[in-house]
């Protein structure tokens, strides 16, 4: 099927793309890898501890690696080592550990019998919930053993408290039905407040064939999952956005472009989450706990703290009620229509539209250049959205690092900046990181190319820009409802000020 994986991976790497391959804890019997597991007693054992347990999973008769066994780690490392049969020479190959509950097709409740024996004589019943965590952690460690300055990407189906440190997770095998796109939102919100922010559901349903409308609406919901991927069962028709064609494909293309546009905001939320465990997508009640009226809303959420989103998840629906949790102004993210007043507001949402509202008083960072991969967006300029609050103030944050190494953690090679609007002065201040490091120094070629100003109509023809003691002016463009500060040309890794008056 893939006669030359190394070449394929290096081809993908040319445009900054990575590959995620699936490795499960069950290993086919009568295969060089499982032979070692049996010979060295690295597998989960039978209840009488007399031999390695054999059960059935995808490849047929299999054994299960016992990742509770410390001796399993060097073995697992070896399987994943650069230059191994599996990994080859690739640096852009990452992993997905599936079936790690573990799924045993002929076991009770399709899992491992509870009296199987793990390392340290623990019965499976005692470690069942932990097992999946040990599997993806073993994989994480194995990838670190290859390169301890590259952040591994691991996706896991089974997870437990602590999984959020090393893996992304998804909600398992869902279906291409409206109920499932509805459920996906409350699932992802629940996982976010439970401390598993890097999660998502299979777009547009693992089993079944979604009709084009469902496909579109599933993508429109899916781009807000912190972990966003299209996936389907082998017997389902392909779910890729180009399959539906015509208008549907156009809408899905725009939808996915929006996700990529918002990556700087998403990445900043990830950073904050990694520091304090905060959700990336927030249920309304999580940000407005004093407002009991919103407690049962599970189909609307804040992406970060500035974008209020309510994906359409019902067939044939083209209008919805969006709940505003406070009295601030909210702007339609597409045409800047204003909505104000706590409570429900009617919102038109034809198939092409996701109800997204930008909250007044916030500044969000985006990147609006279409590229072939996120990696190729690395040095693209930023576009900021600025919405002043009723008191004329606004604030926002931006976190930037190289996206792949541990230099941010280990060497402060990141910048964390705070945008602020106060008294007509829009400023950017570096409040974290060190902009003289290997990566952050390179950010001197990254500028802000555009500031979209919403709900602030006092702007003159041009605005004064100041950075590093240098001053210049930037043009202000007005185009219908849009006011844009054109190319302020400030570089992102240094403080700057723009006077809006």
């Amino acid at each position: 099927m893939f006669p030359n994986p190394d070449r394929m991976l290096s081809k993908l790497d040319e445009t900054g793309r990575s590959l995620v391959a699936i490795i499960d804890p069950h290993l086919k019997v009568g295969y060089e890898v499982s032979d070692v597991v049996e010979k060295q007693n690295l597998g989960i054992r039978t209840s009488d501890n007399s031999s390695t347990f054999h059960g059935h999973c995808w490849p047929g008769e299999s054994v299960w690696i016992d990742t509770l066994n410390p001796a399993a780690q060097p073995f697992w490392d070896k399987q994943h080592a650069v230059g191994s049969n599996f990994m080859g020479q690739a640096q852009n190959l990452f992993l997905w550990n599936d079936m790690s509950e573990p799924s045993v097709f002929n076991g009770p409740e399709t899992t491992a019998p509870k009296d199987l024996i793990h390392y340290g004589d623990w019965e499976h019943r005692s470690v069942h919930n932990l097992y999946g965590l040990t599997v993806h952690e073993a994989t994480y460690k194995a990838l670190l053993a290859n390169n301890n300055n590259k952040r591994p990407f691991i996706l896991t189906r089974s997870f437990f408290a602590g999984s959020q440190r090393t893996a992304a997770m998804w909600t398992g095998d869902n279906m291409a039905k409206w109920e499932y796109v509805q459920a996906s939102i409350s699932q992802v919100l629940t996982l976010n407040i439970a401390g598993f922010p890097f999660c998502g559901a299979d777009v547009a349903g693992f089993f079944g064939n979604p009709e084009p409308e469902l496909l579109v609406r599933f993508y429109q919901a899916g781009i807000w999952y912190p972990f966003f991927r299209g996936h389907a069962h082998i017997d389902s028709r392909r779910h890729e956005p180009w399959v539906a064609g015509g208008e549907y494909t156009d809408i899905m293309r725009d939808t996915i472009k929006l996700r990529y546009k918002l990556l700087p905001l998403l990445y900043t939320e990830f950073y904050k989450s990694s520091q304090v465990g905060s959700p990336i997508v927030n249920p309304i009640f999580f940000l407005f706990p004093e407002d009991e009226q919103n407690y049962d809303i599970d189909d609307e959420f804040f992406f970060g703290k500035s974008l209020l989103v309510k994906p359409i998840t019902e067939q044939g629906q083209t209008e919805t009620l969006v709940y505003l949790p406070d009295d601030k102004i909210y702007y339609d993210f597409e045409d800047y229509t204003q909505y104000q007043g706590k409570g429900y507001h009617s919102f038109n949402a034809p198939l092409s539209k996701i109800p997204i509202l930008l909250k007044a008083g916030t500044i969000i960072p985006t990147k609006q250049r279409y590229r072939r991969s996120t990696k190729l967006m690395k040095f693209d300029p930023y576009t900021l959205y600025l919405t002043a609050d009723s008191d004329g103030g606004a604030s926002g944050e931006l976190y930037i690092d190289d996206g792949e190494s541990f230099n941010a953690q280990n060497d402060n090679d990141f910048v964390f900046l705070k945008f602020e609007l106060r008294n007509g002065q829009l400023s950017s201040k570096i409040i974290g990181g060190d902009s003289s490091k290997t990566f952050t120094r390179q950010l001197s070629k990254v500028r802000v190319e555009r500031i979209i100003v919403v709900g602030y109509d006092k702007l003159p023809e041009s605005v004064k820009v100041e950075q590093d003691g240098n001053k210049w002016e930037a043009e202000v463009l007005r185009n219908g409802t849009q006011t844009i500060i054109r190319n302020p040309s400030v570089v992102i890794n240094k403080d700057w000020v723009i006077s809006l008056n």
Binding site: I234, R237, Y370, E449, N470
Partner: protein
């Protein structure tokens, strides 16, 4: 980084200041001391601006970037939008059509970047110069497939590989030309085979059509003979019918007479019964006594079958209509009998059975009349009747079956002739030819004009599809195979074979882009086209 205006490392004849502006913006530095507006004015006034080349625009299109009378650039598709020249290629997208940023990625997919690729290989447009979508500019990737000169990235990122790629390309082209020549030479054989095959098929078809026509003529003759026999039978029964009408008349009279007799009888019976019951024995008249005794004896001995009333008469009528029915059914049977024996009409009677004789004796004996005299004057006509009628029927049946199967065969041949076997029926040249290739644990087998199969090692073959049709699109020949075996829990299998130019027939790759839809890539001389060779030889 401070950029000096003389430190550029591009050996272009002139560096556009517009491009310099781009770089300045991209590398905006602490040291940049000029007020930006001043820079802009400076650049707008610089005469080089007007003479300079606009980066990312082909020489033919450079003229589009001349300023208008107001000294402004008009967006190419939106002339109402006019911008100062310094905004060209300043890495900010001003025009809705992206035309102000041909040299940067600011307008993304809206703009296109021209690279000259001097000395590079010719691209598919027949030129060295190529167009790259704007979103591929300045993203750190050297898109050598379009821009071998590396000009899509900032200076120093991508080395110029035009010479190297030209050499590689020349080798590739030479190899391609050589394969094409060999392939085309061997393609001629397949073409001739294909033509022959079609010629043979047409000949077979025509012969078949001719045979069919003959059979139809024969059938028409035999059927008319069969009809004559039916006419005879009908004629005979016609006679029967008129005789029956006569008999009906006679029987009617008989029944009427019987009724009269019956009436008289019952009157007499009543008289005698009255006499028998009411006579005075004391009179002792021996004549009366004898008459009463005789009547009583008659009554005692007359038996059950002596029923004389209307119902008996009705029964006679019913019996007669039953007889009519019997005769109708007999008529049918006779026609049936003659049908099933007529097909052997051409053959001499083997049983000596004569339908006419049989019918005549049947009718005569029924009517108790003399058999009609044989109309024996016309020997030919008579011969037809003399034919063994069971054989005639069988012959007609056989001919009809033959016509059916010939028609089917003719239909198939016509369908096959209409089927798309590629240009000049070339695919017919592959009739009977099969190739096998082990790929991914299976043997894949193509019998070109027959079927595709996936064969388990040492096991049975699974039918992917039977040859259905072919198409030629943009110089690529593709065969389609449909109606294979149904996938377990899935659709009916189907597949296609796409040909590439090669010297031999060989399966290069098999993939399953959609579940149970197989796509084969096959190298073969029939994938070689003179047009491609001409194009290669003209272009290079």
């Amino acid at each position: 980084m401070q950029l000096s205006r003389t430190s550029n490392n591009l050996n272009r004849k002139s560096w556009s200041l517009v491009f310099l502006q781009t770089l300045l913006v991209l590398t905006q530095t602490v040291q940049a001391s000029d007020d930006q507006q001043q820079q802009q004015q400076l650049q707008a006034q610089n005469p080089l601006q007007q003479q300079g080349e606009i980066k990312g625009v082909s020489p033919e299109d450079q003229h589009l970037y001349q300023p208008n009378s107001k000294g402004l650039f008009q967006c190419l598709s939106n002339p109402e939008i006019q911008i100062p020249l310094w905004k060209l290629n300043d890495d900010y997208c001003d025009c809705p059509d992206g035309s102000d940023e041909p040299g940067t990625s600011a307008c993304g997919p809206l703009s296109r970047f021209y690279c000259a690729n001097i000395g590079g290989p010719k691209l598919s447009n027949g030129q060295s110069g190529g167009y790259l979508p704007g979103f591929k500019v300045n993203d750190g990737v050297c898109d050598y497939d379009v821009c071998c000169d590396g000009s899509d990235e900032l200076p120093g990122v991508c080395e110029n590989k035009c010479d190297e790629l030209k050499k590689q390309n020349d080798l590739l082209i030479n190899e391609k030309v050589s394969v094409l020549k060999k392939g085309l030479a061997s393609k001629v054989k397949t073409l001739n085979k294909g033509k022959d095959a079609r010629f043979r098929l047409v000949a077979e078809r025509d012969k078949l059509a001719e045979n069919l026509k003959e059979l139809e003529t024969q059938l028409t003759q035999l059927e008319s003979q069969q009809n004559e026999n039916h006419d005879f039978v009908n004629g005979l029964f016609g006679k029967l019918d008129s005789k029956l009408a006569e008999v009906d008349g006679v029987v009617g009279k008989v029944v009427q007479r019987e009724k009269k007799l019956d009436d008289s009888l019952s009157l007499l019976d009543k008289v005698l019964a009255g006499l028998s019951n009411d006579y005075n024995p004391n009179f002792n008249d021996p004549a009366v006594k004898a008459a009463v005794q005789a009547y009583r004896d008659f009554e005692a001995n007359k038996g059950d079958d002596f029923i004389s009333n209307d119902s008996e008469n009705r029964k006679v009528g019913e019996g007669f209509s039953d007889l009519y029915k019997e005769i109708e059914s007999l008529k049918k049977q006779v026609i049936q009998l003659s049908k099933s024996s007529e097909s052997s009409a051409a053959a001499p009677s083997s049983t000596g059975f004569s339908l006419q004789g049989f019918m005549e004796s049947l009718v005569s004996s029924f009517l108790g009349i003399d058999p009609p005299k044989k109309q024996n004057t016309d020997g030919g006509n008579d011969k037809g009747f003399e034919v063994a009628d069971g054989d005639l029927d069988k012959t007609i049946k056989d001919i009809k079956n033959k016509i059916k199967s010939f028609t089917r065969e003719l239909d198939n041949k016509n369908k096959d002739l209409e089927k798309n076997y590629g240009p000049d029926d070339i695919l017919r040249g592959l009739e009977g030819e099969c190739i096998v290739e082990p790929i991914n644990g299976y043997d894949y087998k193509i019998c070109f004009t027959d079927k595709l199969e996936q064969i388990n090692k040492g096991g049975r073959g699974t039918l992917i599809g039977k040859f259905d049709n072919s198409e030629l699109n943009d110089g690529v020949l593709k065969m389609h195979y449909n109606r294979g075996e149904k996938c377990w829990n899935g659709p009916i299998r189907k597949g296609s074979v796409t040909f590439q130019c090669g010297t031999k027939n060989k399966i290069l790759a098999v993939s399953e882009p959609e579940k149970c839809e197989y796509s084969f890539v096959v190298s073969s001389p029939i994938g070689c086209f003179q047009e491609e060779l001409d194009k290669l030889q003209n272009d290079y």
